[in-house]
């Protein structure tokens, strides 16, 4: 095929070559030369059929190119994430899920323990807030417990339980100390009021 017959072919092929620069490095390295050769061949063939055919080819390529580039970047990013987090998959193993929760489970109680002082009250000490905390604590604990049991990581249960018991007992102490007593019945009467 004679490329000199159609000056537009040169321009379109050059534009296509330029657009290949937007692809991720890996794809460029593997396929850029091949893609360019195939596109050039296709453009020459289209040029022989006429200008309309050539511009249709250019239009179709321009239409699909951004989608292909975005898709490639997304795919490359996913591949990269799988290298960093090898357990990131549709069926995340329980160990990975639990490990990812661990910082949050440690940070919450740690914050309470560190900032605790006798007579301390949080900014929002409403009953709703207490129930919310209690409910969240139980929910997280139950989820964590089930996760551990499923993986037979029974050894972690006492540690986590004591950790959360410490934080929840601090919460009770906080309420009771604001009332001047640490009697459990007083705490519950305080809550139920």
């Amino acid at each position: 095929m004679n490329i000199r017959l159609h000056p537009w072919v040169k321009l379109i092929v050059r534009l296509f070559k330029l657009s290949l620069q937007f692809y991720p490095h890996m794809l460029r390295q593997n396929y850029a030369a091949e893609m360019q050769a195939v596109f050039r061949f296709k453009a020459e063939e289209a040029a022989l059929k006429g200008s309309r055919s050539l511009f249709t080819l250019a239009y179709c390529e321009a239409r699909d190119l951004p989608i292909a580039i975005i898709s490639e970047y997304y795919h490359a990013m996913r591949g990269h994430m799988k290298i960093i987090f090898p357990f990131t998959s549709d069926q995340t193993p329980w160990q990975a899920a639990l490990l990812s929760l661990l910082p949050f489970l440690i940070a919450g109680p740690l914050r309470i323990i560190i900032s605790y002082q006798p007579g301390w009250r949080s900014a929002d000490s409403s009953f709703n807030y207490f129930w919310f905390l209690l409910f969240s604590f139980l929910l997280v604990l139950a989820g964590f417990g089930i996760g551990i049991l499923k993986n037979s990581r029974a050894g972690l249960i006492p540690i986590l339980f004591s950790w959360h018991s410490a934080s929840i007992s601090l919460l009770f102490t906080q309420i009771s100390s604001s009332n001047g007593t640490s009697d459990w019945s007083t705490i519950f009467s305080y809550i139920s009021c």
Partner: protein, 115 residues
Amino acid sequence: MQVDSFPMPLSESTYFILLSLASGPKHGYAVLKDTSELSAGRISLSVSTLYTALGRLQEQQLIERVEPLAEEPAPGLPRKVYRLTRPGQKAPDAEVQRLKKLLSAYRQQLGTESA
């Protein structure tokens, strides 16, 4: 759904690419032509879409890129060709079986043979 380590269902373009390679190793341009012919002109893959799909298929080990064994390609065309791997040979069959099951369920439910 995952069957024999390849993703199911296959997309239409993937199916036609695999079907094109079923008749033997081909370079990208031949695959482009084939997909258009096999789909009766309904699917016209752009070069970028084709190579994105070929890249995925290579990753899934359904196809592999090899040096051409015998004949040289036309001048200007890439020397490397694509061919189906063993799982790649099974993939179109598995897709057809899947579609047959869908069709069978459709016929069973609607009680018609015309579908």
